[in-house]
């Protein structure tokens, strides 16, 4: 139980509710206290003004009327007041206390005329003569009495002193009752407030907890889990939606990474095996020229390996959009002439005809190296896959907005099984000798330039791959 409580105390729901409750409690306490104090002050003012009035009128009378008349007046006033109070609040057990007293003292403080209940006589010693000569009403505590009394005094012209006192027990009891109810109300508000806050905050945060649990439960091998979506359309629902989208992306990216990892592992294994084999033979063969031959072949294998690594990284970087383009004005025709010239002998060796159709210079704002790379990849592809006797045509066509670079051949076309995903990484026909990276880089190159790439099938057979890129940069060329 204790440990459970201490775990609860570390939750945000607890902290939020406790904080809000504290604020609520302090606030209501302040309001209640202020109201109570105002009420108490008000009641005292009312009592005091009665005392003042009473003292004034009795003093006037005492100055003129004979003591007998004054005594009758005291009795009459006292009776009147007692009746009034009793009809107001019937509290017989305190009746005695809810009474006024009147006294006329001589200048030395000796009572001349007193009207009061018998017990009230004790009050006279409590009234220190020098302080009672004259003054506004004040509280005087009397031994044996729970509540103080308010006493007003007035010195007459002849030196006598008139005292009028009233017990505050009625008012004080009322105030006590009010204070008690206020305390109950305050406790109620605080407890209810905490309950409501805790319930509300807890319910909201329970939804956050669900997200935490699901996300915590997601391991690498069960990326398919998603946070349950809700009917709400509030902030937390948006958080859930965002989380799920993020999980989708992570799953896609991990799946892709795995696929790439598998392919790379597969692609690396063959050259590594070949290199290992070559070196093993070199180590065991006694024939010196054989050794050199095997080592050379191992070196070739290593070059292949490093080229594959480069291609993989380049493609991954290009696809992730991480390539920083080094743009400049590029004449695509000149670029194509250069590349075609490089490839022509190799194409001829393979029995392929390679031609360039580029009627005019075509300038684009692009990364020359990347474009060159794209075109060489397309031609590599053609050289690797086309049977002898085919014709490969590179065409460069400039337009007002786009420049198009296409490579068309009249070969057997793309195998049906990869036609839809020819530009994906490691998409390869069953009999392909390529890395499966060439076209992926072509697409990435087109996309980072804000262009497009498409694979088509001319009616006459074969295939055509066309890259279209914007002739000029859509944004100001800041990355040149």
């Amino acid at each position: 139980m204790f440990s459970r409580l201490s775990t609860v105390r570390h939750t945000a729901a607890w902290r939020l509710s406790a904080m809000a409750t504290a604020v609520l409690a302090l606030g209501t306490a302040a309001v209640f206290t202020a109201a109570f104090l105002m009420l108490a002050a008000n009641m005292q003012r009312r009592g005091d003004s009665w005392l003042d009035g009473e003292t004034a009128s009795l003093a006037e009378m005492a100055a003129a009327a004979p003591p007998e008349a004054l005594k009758q007046e005291f009795a009459r006033e006292a009776q009147e007041l007692t009746n009034e109070r009793h009809s107001d609040r019937s509290k017989p057990e305190n009746a005695e206390e809810s009474v006024v007293f009147f006294a006329l003292l001589d200048r030395s403080g000796t009572p001349l005329l007193v009207h009061a209940p018998p017990t009230w006589r004790e009050i006279l010693p409590a009234l220190d003569p020098p302080h009672i000569r004259s003054g506004p009403p004040r509280s005087v505590a009397v031994a044996g009495y729970e509540y103080p009394m308010r006493v007003a005094s007035r010195a007459l012209k002849d030196g006598r002193i008139l005292l009028v006192g009233e017990s505050t027990s009625g008012d004080q009891q009322l105030l006590d009752e009010i204070a008690q109810s206020l305390a109950w109300m305050w406790t109620g508000v605080t407890v209810c407030g905490f309950a409501v806050l805790w319930f509300g905050v807890h319910r909201v945060l329970a939804r956050v907890n669900t997200i935490t649990e699901v996300v915590a439960a997601i391991e690498a091998d069960q990326l398919g889990r998603r946070v349950p979506t809700e009917r709400h359309r509030d902030e937390i629902a948006r958080l859930v939606a965002t989380f799920n989208v993020m999980l989708d992306r992570i799953e896609a990216s991990i799946t892709q990474t795995r696929a790439i990892g598998d392919s790379v592992a597969h692609d690396l294994r063959s050259p590594v095996t070949a290199i290992r084999g070559s070196l093993e033979i070199a180590l065991t063969t006694p024939d010196d020229s054989q050794v050199r031959d095997r080592v050379a072949s191992a070196l070739e294998g290593l070059d292949q390996l490093s080229a594959l690594l480069d291609a993989t990284l380049d493609t991954a970087e290009a696809e992730a959009g991480a390539l920083r383009l080094r743009r400049g004005w590029v004449d695509v025709r000149a670029l194509a002439e250069n590349v075609v010239e490089l490839y022509l002998p190799a194409a001829q060796d393979r029995g392929l005809a390679l031609t360039l159709v580029a009627p005019a210079p075509v300038e684009v704002w692009a990364d020359e190296s990347l474009l060159r790379r794209a075109l060489t990849n397309l031609l590599d592809n053609a050289l690797i896959h086309l049977p002898p006797g085919c014709h490969v045509e590179v065409a460069i066509i400039g337009g007002a907005e786009h420049a198009s670079l296409s490579v068309t051949d009249n070969g057997p076309g793309f195998p049906a099984e990869i036609r839809d995903r020819a530009f994906d990484r490691f998409a390869r026909g069953r009999k392909s000798a390529g890395t499966g990276l060439g076209l992926a880089l072509v697409r990435a190159a087109a996309l980072v330039h804000g262009g497009t790439v498409r694979l088509g099938q001319p009616p006459a057979g074969g295939s055509v791959i066309e890259i279209e890129i914007p002739a000029a940069a859509p944004d100001p060329p800041t990355d040149a």
Partner: protein, 224 residues
């Protein structure tokens, strides 16, 4: 010629040191930029080979510091990073050439020689090159073997000129692509080999001994 090799990888440092020693270079090895700064202040090195990733100060900072101290010896940067950006950054900060790992030792050697040659001021560039009975007239764009003019295309002439300039030294396919086609990557097909074979056909076909030799796994060399 004395080379300062700044490389923390012991295996790479060792094979470079041995390779360079075999070629007659004196080699000082520093495993960190801090050590290298002490050595370089002696001012006795003709060239530096600097790895980018080093413990402590990195290679590019080191090069910058050297340049700030007035070291003028050519510097060849070695790096595993091969984007154009990295290369440009290396050159901008004071390097003279940039070679990415993995590299062929022959290529490192060739680039180093180019740097050393550049460092030693020479007279006007020769207008004629010759290797054995092969003569190249750079002004008239003419190549002759044994007095017979070779019918070379423009590109074949550039290729032959490049091989001739580096006569006796192995040049790799990457170097050829870089110098003759201004391409900094290797295509997936053997396009360079085919060009070399065609050139060899024209240069060596009617001759009794061959000038253009293939070094398997590395590249080509032209020698008498």
């Amino acid at each position: 010629m004395r080379i300062l090799l700044v490389e923390d990888d012991v295996r790479i440092a060792e094979f470079l040191r041995r390779g360079l020693l075999e070629r007659g270079y004196a080699v000082d090895h520093a495993p960190s930029a801090e050590d290298a700064l002490d050595l370089v202040s002696e001012g006795i090195h003709d060239a530096l080979i600097v790895d980018v990733v080093l413990p402590g100060m990195d290679g590019l900072d080191f090069i910058e510091q050297c340049r700030a101290r007035g070291v003028s010896a050519p510097m060849l940067i070695l790096s595993a990073r091969r984007t154009v950006d990295d290369r440009v950054r290396g050159l901008q900060r004071g390097g003279d050439d940039y070679l990415t790992k993995p590299f062929a030792f022959a290529e490192l050697l060739a680039r180093l020689e180019v740097l050393l040659r550049r460092a030693v001021p020479q007279g006007s560039k020769a207008s004629r090159l010759g290797v054995g009975d092969l003569e190249i007239d750079l002004l008239r764009h003419e190549a002759r073997r044994g007095g017979r003019t070779l019918a070379l295309s423009q590109r074949e002439f550039t290729l032959l000129e490049y091989l001739c300039t580096n006569a006796g030294r192995v040049v790799t396919r990457t170097m050829i692509l870089d110098h003759v086609w201004q391409m900094r990557f290797e295509p997936a097909t053997n396009v360079v080999d085919v060009h070399i074979h065609r050139l060899r056909d024209k240069v060596d076909r009617d001759a009794d001994h061959k000038l253009i030799h293939t070094i398997r796994g590395v590249g080509y060399v032209l020698k008498a």
